[in-house]
Subunit: 598 residues, 2 copies
């Protein structure tokens, strides 16, 4: 058993809390058993430990580079690990069986990917991106496109990317300039550059399937004129075999602080280096209808954002476990009550401040893992729950929780990594130990797939107000039901419920005040604080849920869960009070700041 993630905790979350067994009763998962899922998880743990973890540091120290032949050079272990993963079929764990997937619930697939992320986020990004591209095509592509591009991806022969950003257009996708010119045969020719493209060029497989946002000339300005295209690195023959090189070229490799194992590229489309069919432009195939590209992309955004949150969580989790092991093995100093220098030293895990740093990490990472798996459960419920109302409610909850599931672990599991460094002292700052890499890797997560500030606007500006507040109401009702259960249980559960209930009421009151004047500039001025306060309240709810799931159970594991819940309620939840006070005051400090005052 590796110490990169906790098998015991996953069992608790999946079986003792989320009752993943209930999914076996659904038509969509007919024939699958909880034992099958446990076997898949054990397999993921084994692949993560044997294939992904061993080259995590090596990939960091030997970042991708452009070789003399102009091709991207990765360390060979990446291809080997992906080969083994491909053989297990785990990459397509949650994909439909019709296209070669395993058809497992998203909840189980989430736990599978948590193992891979915890072992090596840099290598895991390749199958994550491929799975994301495949899912997008399954949801929005034609049957022909699925057969042509998705099946080879699931077979591990083709890889995928998402090409959204451009040098001058990151958060503001309305301003992309890549253009797609319609051809008489129904295909398009793509011209432009794309920036920050992860896995944009490599030799891991036979082909790379780029999903590219571009504008068809004459389309409406802004986001309503963006279309989505399949632009493969190599064109295919009629029988699907690799044919001519398409005009997608590697324009450069970005050098990052962390996440170095994943090659990040600048790509040029239609620059004239290749002339497919003797003509200028990269050949592209329209997905769905013109001008609907961004909505197709956003359809997959929930999945991608939960994936980022899960990756951030896994990095936090593995750093926590490593700092715990270090703290137990490192003798240093004596207890405050015993300062005699001839007494033997104690492991630093016995110092209260070290226990604080470990307990904080535990509360962040086990809370975040709970949230991510809960959200994966909503994906399952939205697709498979019996009853339209239940599915609809799951969808609403997923909408409002997604910005939190993306941003909260990106902030707090990064903080967990910082604490893991701190527990290690000087050793934590040295590259001989893993935790500094986890910290650098994790710092990407508040940036990509929509920055922290973009998530805040999404939550307060879009999700809170959507359908007349229906998503907010669904969340309020769901947390309220947990509060009711806890109050019915009485004792300590009831005390925690009281604190959560008060915070939730305060959040609701603040939300009302923010939107009372329907002035978006004022309402959204401090949206980031709203995101952070709402995030902490949601995590307190997840912790109350976990606390309730330990009810009547004794032993060190359950005591630890209860203490982590107490920690979160005593040290973390109260941080929301000044945030909500500030929000409720409709503070204008940031809004009123003038540029020349800086």
């Amino acid at each position: 058993m590796t110490d990169i993630l906790s098998r015991r905790d996953l069992q608790f979350l999946l079986h003792e809390w989320l009752d993943v067994e209930r999914l076996t009763e659904r038509e969509e998962f007919r024939g699958q058993t909880a034992d099958d899922w446990n076997d898949a998880l054990l397999l993921a743990e084994q692949v993560a430990g044997d294939q992904f973890q061993p080259h995590n540091r090596k990939a960091d120290l030997n970042e991708p580079r452009i070789g003399e032949d102009g091709k991207v050079v990765l360390i060979p272990e990446v291809a080997e690990a992906l080969g083994v993963l491909g053989e297990t079929g785990l990459m397509a764990a949650a994909m439909p069986e019709e296209v070669g997937g395993m058809g497992l619930p998203a909840t189980v697939s989430g736990a599978i990917f948590a193992w891979l992320h915890a072992a090596n986020v840099g290598t895991t990004a390749y199958p994550m991106l491929t799975a994301g591209a495949a899912n997008l095509l399954i949801a929005n592509g034609s049957k022909d496109q699925v057969r042509t591009w998705v099946i080879p991806m699931i077979e591990g022969r083709f890889h995928g990317t998402m090409c959204l950003s451009e040098t001058q257009a990151g958060s503001s996708l309305a301003d992309i300039t890549t253009r797609a010119e319609a051809q008489e045969d129904g295909t398009y020719r793509i011209f432009g550059n794309k920036m920050w493209i992860s896995a944009g060029s490599h030799e891991l497989g036979e082909n790379i399937v780029h999903l590219v946002l571009a504008k068809i000339p004459g389309s409406p300005p802004g986001v309503k004129g963006i279309s989505l295209f399949v632009v493969p690195r190599f064109l295919l023959d009629g029988d699907g075999s690799i044919a001519e090189r398409n005009d997608v070229v590697l324009a450069g490799v970005n050098h990052k602080m962390g996440f170095r194992g994943t090659v990040n590229t600048v790509l040029g489309f239609g620059e004239g280096e290749y002339m497919p069919g003797g003509k200028a432009g990269a050949v592209g195939y329209l997905i769905g209808d013109p001008n609907h590209g961004l909505s197709y992309m956003f359809h997959m955004m929930n999945e991608a954002r939960i994936g980022v949150g899960l990756g951030a969580t896994a990095l936090g989790y593995t750093g926590y476990l490593k700092s715990l092991r270090y703290a137990r093995e490192r003798p240093q100093g004596r207890r405050l009550a015993s300062k005699d220098p001839v007494d033997p030293q104690v492991p630093i895990s016995e110092h209260t401040d070290v226990k604080r740093m470990l307990l904080a990490q535990k509360s962040y990472v086990e809370g975040a893992l709970g949230l991510e798996l809960y959200c994966s459960g909503l994906v399952d419920d939205e697709m498979t729950a019996p009853g339209e109302e239940t599915r609809k409610k799951a969808g609403l909850l997923l909408e409002i929780l997604t910005p939190i599931a993306k941003s909260w672990p990106s902030q707090w599991c990064l903080e967990a990594n910082s604490l893991a460094i701190q527990v290690h002292g000087g050793y934590g700052y040295a590259r001989e130990y893993d935790v500094e890499q986890h910290y650098r890797d994790n710092r990407l997560n508040p940036i990509h797939e929509g920055t922290h500030g973009i998530q805040a606007l999404d939550l307060l500006g879009r999700k809170v107000t959507m359908q007349g507040g229906a998503a907010f109401a669904a969340l309020f009702e769901t947390i309220g039901a947990t509060v009711d259960r806890a109050e019915a249980e009485g004792g300590e559960a009831s005390e925690l419920a009281g604190a959560l209930h008060a915070s939730l009421e305060s959040l609701a009151g603040t939300t009302g005040k923010l939107w009372a004047d329907r002035d978006p500039e004022l309402a959204l001025a401090n949206a980031t604080l709203y995101l952070e306060a709402a995030g902490h309240i949601v995590l307190a709810w997840i912790w109350l849920e976990q606390f309730l799931a330990t009810s009547g159970k004794s032993g060190a594991f359950y005591e630890g869960k209860r203490q982590a819940a107490r920690y979160f309620f005593r040290f973390e939840l109260p941080k929301t009070a000044p945030q909500l006070d500030l929000l409720g005051s409709l503070d204008r400090t940031t809004l009123d700041m003038m540029d020349d005052w800086f």
Copy 2:
């Protein structure tokens, strides 16, 4: 003018707030004028910009390594920059003229070093360490030791180090095992290993003067049996010229996440590679009396810790200015009120959430710079203020503020660097921009020179209780005087004063509760929260001071100062309320956590 630090802000802090001119009236600074000091600052700015800044990234990308001859290889720019710095005399800005220093006030010297840190912390560490070693010898060494070792250091020929930690003893110096055996000629022979020794081996000068903590056999156990020795890399002839190699050898270099320009080493003493005088052991010269080593070292600790705080501040400051420039130059998106996609994009500095990130940075870094220069002013006052009482009070304030001056910027100017990355978006995560390096560099600061947790124990366990609470009372009285002045001014100043006064009263009340039972384990259980709450209250006081210093002044610079003060009072100071509540409840969550619950 470079944009690594703000000349305008330094002028404000030194002249409009701290009234550095008052120091010209003191005997110790006779003959110096404020113009002299401004000239020294301009010179520092020039050296920082021309010599230190240009190789900051190169030093990060080409970290020190051990060459084939076993010697440490640094990029040549380091020696060139230090050569120019040596010619200016600025390294010894605050040292006495008798030993070749400039005899400037510590306040001015602090501002000089702020420029160097902002340009390049990795290279600045070399003169910082040398100055620290020289100051320790000036304070505690014999006249002969000062002549032999200090003068060549100030001339730039010798460098210095501090050798405290060992592999098995970092925070717990009581457990060092390096031993010093007395010789008949009054010298000692040193045997042992030292870990994390910055600048421990290099070819920047003729010699390296190691100040080494070691135990003389038969001394009392623990910290009461630690002595301090000069152990040079090369022994000297009677005329001070370089003679035989001493037995101090490079056992390895550590590979760090950041701060890579500063070589960090493992040193072996008396391992037998050299046999000075034909005998085993590294030759060492006792400083002062046996068994007083740690108190000599701690005497210099205030200086070293303020130096760390200043370095952290400078990194935060330079990151802030770079993110501000980026935000003003980067067009992206439109204002919320104008979503028409054919409108031109605005610079991101116009987005409220970006303004929030810039204003937060401004409040952290300008507040921290104020605190560090205030503390340098206390060093001046402790040494030169007219009247014994004033000096004594300055000393007490310095004692209680030092853990905050060290830890607060290490936490919040690191957070500023994180915000600087966030403002840059994906570019901030790329090594093509500076801010990711500042963030990595700054992450060292909560670790070295006493970890964050050690500072917390120092503040609450030692400084708050010292001399029957005299230091705490001095701080309370000093902040109270600012509150009184602000209340007398009325208006907005009075409002801010009210908030600060309430927080200060709460801190005092909490402090009383914590020590009411005289149970150190309980009192200190959440010492880190105490450090953080006290730090925020002290910074709010520094901001009220700066607010008052803008009184009656108009213009963008002063408006910016006032808005940053408002930001700190509205967004930051309220964070202390839940921290003080928790502390006041004598919470036992961390104390009660059991090891097997993790």
